[in-house]
Amino acid sequence: MRIAQVIGTVTLSRWHPTLGGFRWVIGVPFSLKALQKGKPDGEDFVILDQLGAGQGQRIGVSEGVEAAAAFLPERKPIDAYCACILDSLDVR
């Protein structure tokens, strides 16, 4: 799971039949230096969110097989899933 900061949401006008009714947020990941400074610096990507992450919150994003595993046995074509909303993040 990578750490990303939510910078916005996405609303779909058309979607894959298995992806109806979900909430999508845009997250920007952190490198180590960015994590120490507190400002994300990675490349933003869209994440399926079931936990209701708000603007500016930091979340743990599970990617790849593990993102789709959250819905097994249903098969969904997703590769980024919000696994947790971070209350506190202590990095030295």
């Binding site: 952190f30 097994l72 909303i85 993040l89």
Partner: protein
Amino acid sequence: MQRALVVGHAVATVKHPSLHGWKLLVAQPLTTDGKNDGEPLLVIDSLGAGVGDNIVISSDGAGTRQLIGHKNSPARWLNLGICDPCASPK
């Protein structure tokens, strides 16, 4: 499996149910010569690794799901062990 340095820890109350009860470490994966390898990761931990520890993390999601005992768990990275200060070049 890969070496990583624990650089912090995270707390999340709102999370996927399969993550309840697991400590979340922030670990920076390392290359063999000790440089940073990619972005820091959230690693689930049951061994009690602290900040500054050298740990070995596994990216086998299937093994992690088996250990957690939850077939839908989104967790992948798992802390397998805490290294003693190894002699490899830092």
